[in-house]
């Protein structure tokens, strides 16, 4: 019984984690940039859903449709105008730059929305269903299904579309991609835009479940780190595997060690994975 509960929770949460991490993973994999602003993007997406629902009465589904293009443009411009200038610099510089961006965005959110925790409460409430005698709230299920759908959408995009193939080509071998006539600069910007769009959409989904506050951005970012390292960098399947593993470890960890230790456990796991298997569960070696 307990096992089933842990498993179902892990499944639900794992898909959400994958969705949180996937944009981060894409940016790291393609641009070789650790994007510290990712967590704040997610929170901004959550505020978008919250604001649209409370002020305009727009359901979160519409918010997804708003978030995707607007975050894409935001990310695209950010990369083109700022990040692109230091893209070849050592990790120290790119990482510190995205940290600076995160400081600005996070501070702006605290300034406008205050640090209080808010909650998006759907009216009427969606209730809950029971699966194998485990009670799961419906909004959580919907969010999970949407997260999976988003993840699958990215997979399709990378697989089927021309721009997707170009992104994968740049990730696998930048120099070869240049020789094949891929405009790397623009692919970088598209990938960063996609990363931002995915973060924004993930934020909309998170708003259905978790309280919203600028203070939560580092927690999202932390999850993205762990998922990426566990699953392997830059692939959709890797993010899913990493998300599920992380959710499972946290679930089992909370049962045996108490919920307070779940986060510690996940980071310890991250460090162990980095040292022992830096390519992650599904990643291939050598794509640093």
């Amino acid at each position: 019984m307990l096992a089933i509960q842990v498993l179902i929770n892990a499944l639900v949460l794992g898909c959400l984690y994958a969705c949180i991490a996937i944009g981060f993973s894409l940016v790291w994999g393609v641009l070789n940039v650790i994007n510290l602003i990712h967590g704040s993007f997610i929170v901004l997406g959550a505020y978008l859903a919250w604001g649209a629902y409370n002020a305009l009465g727009l359901s979160p589904w519409y918010s997804l449709l708003i978030a995707a293009p607007s975050f894409f443009v935001f990310g695209y411009l950010l990369q083109r105008l700022l990040l692109n200038r230091v893209i070849t610099a050592p990790v120290l510089v790119t990482l510190t730059l995205t940290f600076g961006l995160d400081l600005i965005l996070n501070n702006a959110m605290i300034y406008y929305f205050k640090a209080d925790y808010r909650k998006l409460i759907l009216n009427p409430p969606t209730g809950s269903v029971s699966i194998f005698d485990v009670v799961v709230p419906v909004d959580r299920l919907i969010a999970t299904a949407s997260a999976l759908a988003l993840t699958f959408l990215l997979y399709l995009l990378l697989r089927r579309s021309k721009v997707g193939r170009a992104i994968v080509a740049v990730r696998l071998d930048r120099d070869a991609a240049v020789l094949m006539g891929v405009n790397v600069k623009s692919i970088y910007a598209v990938a960063f835009g996609l990363g931002a769009a995915l973060a924004g959409c993930a934020g909309v989904l998170m708003a259905l479940i978790f309280p919203i506050s600028p203070l939560t951005s580092s927690a999202y970012l932390g999850k993205a780190f762990v998922v990426c390292v566990l699953g392997g960098l830059g692939s959709v399947s890797g993010a899913l595997a990493g998300g599920l593993l992380l959710a499972l470890v946290e679930g089992v960890g909370s049962v045996y060690l108490g919920p307070a230790h779940a986060v510690t456990l996940s980071f310890v796991l991250l460090i162990i994975f980095l040292v022992v298997r830096p390519q992650g569960l599904l990643g291939r070696k050598g794509f640093e």
Partner: protein, 316 residues
Amino acid sequence: MTRTNIALLVLIACVAALPLFGDAYAMRLGTMACMYAIFALSWNIVGGFAGYPSFATAAFFGLGAYTTGILMNKGVPLSVSLLGALVLCLVLAAALGAVLLRLRGHYFAIASLSLVEVFRELVNNATDLTGGGMGLNIPLVSGSSVLSDATFFFYAMWGLLLLTALVVIAVSASKLGFGLNCIRQNETASNMVGLNSTLHKAVAFGLSACFVGAAGGLYAAWVHYIDPSDVFDILYSVKPIVMALMGGLGSPLGVVCGAFVYLGLEEVVWRNYIQIHSGVLGVLIILLLLFLPHGLISLHASKIWRGLFGRKAKHV
């Protein structure tokens, strides 16, 4: 001793004269300046000499603060507590360094960043020992008056800075420093000429942590109250990097100058834009990285600087 290292010691000696002119506010600033300089010098051992992008400063700052705080609450005198924090950070960081510094580039950056998270969560959860999220009160040390307290902690932090600077200067002139520079330039070749790079990196990581840990201990005793989100703040990890980038990577004098300039900027921002200070800080960081990637000094004498003692980090 090289000319720049003498200049560094002269600069530090000048700072010691601050209590002659300053009030309590100036002393507070001076203490912070010394603390930041310790951060920057320490970070420079791993980030500047060995070329590994460490984000672990906050981890050892917090660890040192809590070690000292806990020991003092058990009645151990400040000096012994600080020594305890220093030794603990040295040993723990050296052990962790031997493992983590096998990672390169982004992976090392993430691992060192995660160290901060792990330490913070551990302290958060060890409620019996640390008070958890409620924070930890630390007994007063001297407490006769505000000004004498401020003077005491200023000199303590200054002394620690002097110690750090002397050790860093000794390292840079030693076989260890020579080896760390080799590792930054070409780790494969370093191993091939018989350099035990694991040992070098472990020692470097230990040294870069121990003074930060002791500074954390002094900070804890100085402010009398610490909590995990304060002392394990990622900002403490990023600040020394910004200072080093400002002053010029690799040069002890450069990073200390960077630390002082950074503190000045931070103070101005704090006083004028309290509500948006972190955002303004972000803008400063970005402007610095975009327009002055080789530090403030590159504004004028970039060539002379590089020729004399500056080094650009390669493929960190």
